[in-house]
């Protein structure tokens, strides 16, 4: 497991060695903040010192933003042939998968945490509930991990970054829409309630919502972590086949 470190380090710094990191960070912050400020977000209009209007867009924003980070994880290595270099170095597949995944996750966490001026703004304007803000950040980072797990898996399946991006988008939107209210209503109309509930339980929204309200429920944490773990396991399988 000690080989995770060099792989992580190379991958994480790799974002900053090209313009990717800067373009991504700026785009993410501009989009997420302007969504919150927009009339759909109502960050100021609501008159409440809360970041809920900021975080409520995250499940949707991640749909596009996380595949943008995840698509290159393996596709890039396959296309440029460096995958052959990596897997003939004394590194196991699991170490490589974890190293690269953790690097992508750390990068996403950095992007999310860089929105802290929003929290400072709230502190200046009013008296926000810091507990809720902290739990929202925790939820956002956990959700980013689950999204990234799905995207890393998609990336391991193809050497083409566009295909990887589209696959990630499709897989993530399925996981998102399962819990979208109008879709959930439709399910409840067609299936018995317990089936609809079970399906909705696989959605990012269902599990993320609690965090933005300040509730840290172990079952939500378990959901995100187990989804992450499962996709990483499939990632190893996909690379070893």
């Amino acid at each position: 497991m000690q080989q995770i470190r060099p792989v992580f380090k190379r991958e994480f710094l790799g974002y900053f060695r090209s313009p990717v990191a800067y373009v991504f960070l700026v785009a993410f912050l501009v989009i997420s903040v302007s969504l919150a400020f927009s009339r759909y977000g109502g960050f100021f209009k609501g008159g409440i010192a809360s970041m809920e209007s900021y975080f409520s867009f995250f499940p949707w924003l991640f749909l596009f933003i996380v595949p943008a980070v995840g698509m290159r994880l393996w596709s890039e290595e396959k296309r440029s042939g460096t995958v052959e270099l990596l897997f003939t170095l004394p590194v196991t597949t699991l170490e490589a998968v974890l190293g690269k995944f953790l690097a992508g996750w750390a990068f996403l966490a950095l992007a999310i945490l860089l929105s802290f001026p929003m929290a400072l703004t709230l502190a200046y304007l009013g008296e926000p509930d810091w507990g809720v803000i902290a739990s929202s950040y925790l939820g956002a980072i956990l959700m980013a991990g689950a999204y990234l797990g799905v995207c890393a898996l998609a990336s391991a399946l193809t050497r083409n970054q566009v295909i990887s991006f589209v696959l990630s988008l499709v897989a993530c939107s399925v996981l998102l829409f399962l819990g979208f209210s109008s879709f959930a209503d439709f399910l409840e109309g067609v299936f018995p309630l317990y089936v609809a509930d079970a399906v909705a339980n696989f959605s990012f929204i269902t599990h993320f919502d609690a965090f933005t309200k300040g509730v840290i429920d172990p079952k939500d944490i378990v959901f995100f972590l187990s989804l992450t773990g499962f996709t990483l396991f499939l990632n190893v399988v996909a690379l070893e086949r």
């Binding site: 080989q3 470190r5 060099p6 792989v7 380090k9 190379r10 790799g14 060695r17 090209s18 440029s80 042939g81 460096t82 052959e84 270099l85 897997f87 003939t88 170095l89 004394p90 590194v91 196991t92």
Partner: protein
């Protein structure tokens, strides 16, 4: 040092490697010859643990690649075809990464290995340049530096002189020759003069099978008076 026994690899319906068997001892430089697509690279990829063979075994120093790939990979230096490297890294960053993965974790140890590899392959002038800006010859040397960085007992080089100019070619050859005494080296090439200049033994592979395994002199003696490329053509005629 290297023992390969009945390696087989099939892609779909084509058998790329069909029962390849050979040995390489310490101090030997084995030239792997064959037309494009004959199975040279596939054999090397199985030996280095990148591909899993469908049948057969490959062992390095008595360790089976399929059973303990990480141990084998520690003993190997491998230059894959066309020398892949991370383009956004500088030469120094890239070699430092390799050194870290190879277990040189402390700064002085890492520095020493990187400096040694850079000196050995004459990369000092470009050490702070990103790899994507390098010419083909320099890229190839970066790949070579990466392969010899940890001074491995076994070197597997897939077309090490591909894309180099004549001066660089003879330089790389001199390097390989200089290191060969205490190593087992396999190199693939389709340059016949290289085999003559460098190798102590030649294997010619055609359609996934070994059609000749002997010294360059013995190969030449097959058709007295003929040039090496004529012998090569008659042995691999089935391929075309």
């Amino acid at each position: 040092m290297i023992e390969v026994n009945g390696l087989v690899k099939t892609y779909g319906s084509t058998r790329a490697v069909d029962g390849v068997t050979f040995r390489v001892r310490r101090g030997e430089i084995l030239g792997f010859l064959g037309p494009n697509g004959a199975g040279k690279s596939t054999t090397m990829k199985m030996l280095t643990g990148f591909l899993r063979p469908d049948a057969g075994t490959a062992t390095v120093d008595g360790v089976d690649v399929a059973l303990d790939p990480v141990t084998v990979k520690r003993k190997l230096g491998y230059l894959p075809e066309s020398a892949p490297a991370y383009p956004e890294m500088t030469v120094e960053e890239f070699l430092s990464f390799i050194a870290e993965v190879r277990g040189y974790r402390t700064e002085p140890a890492k520095r020493a290995q990187v400096d040694r590899a850079i000196t050995l392959t004459h990369l000092a002038s470009v050490r702070r340049q990103t790899i994507e800006t390098l010419s083909k010859g320099f890229k190839q040397r970066v790949g070579f530096a990466q392969a010899v960085l940890h001074d491995p007992p076994v070197l597997v080089l897939d077309e090490p002189t591909d894309g180099l100019d004549p001066n660089q070619k003879s330089e790389i050859r001199a390097l390989i020759r200089g290191m060969a005494a205490e190593k087992a080296v396999i190199l693939s090439t389709h340059i016949l003069e290289e085999v003559d200049a460098l190798c102590t033994r030649v294997i010619i592979i055609s359609r996934g099978r070994i059609v000749a395994d002997e010294t360059p002199a013995a190969l030449r003696a097959r058709q007295p008076g003929a040039r090496l490329d004529e012998v090569f053509r008659s042995l691999t005629a089935a391929d075309v």
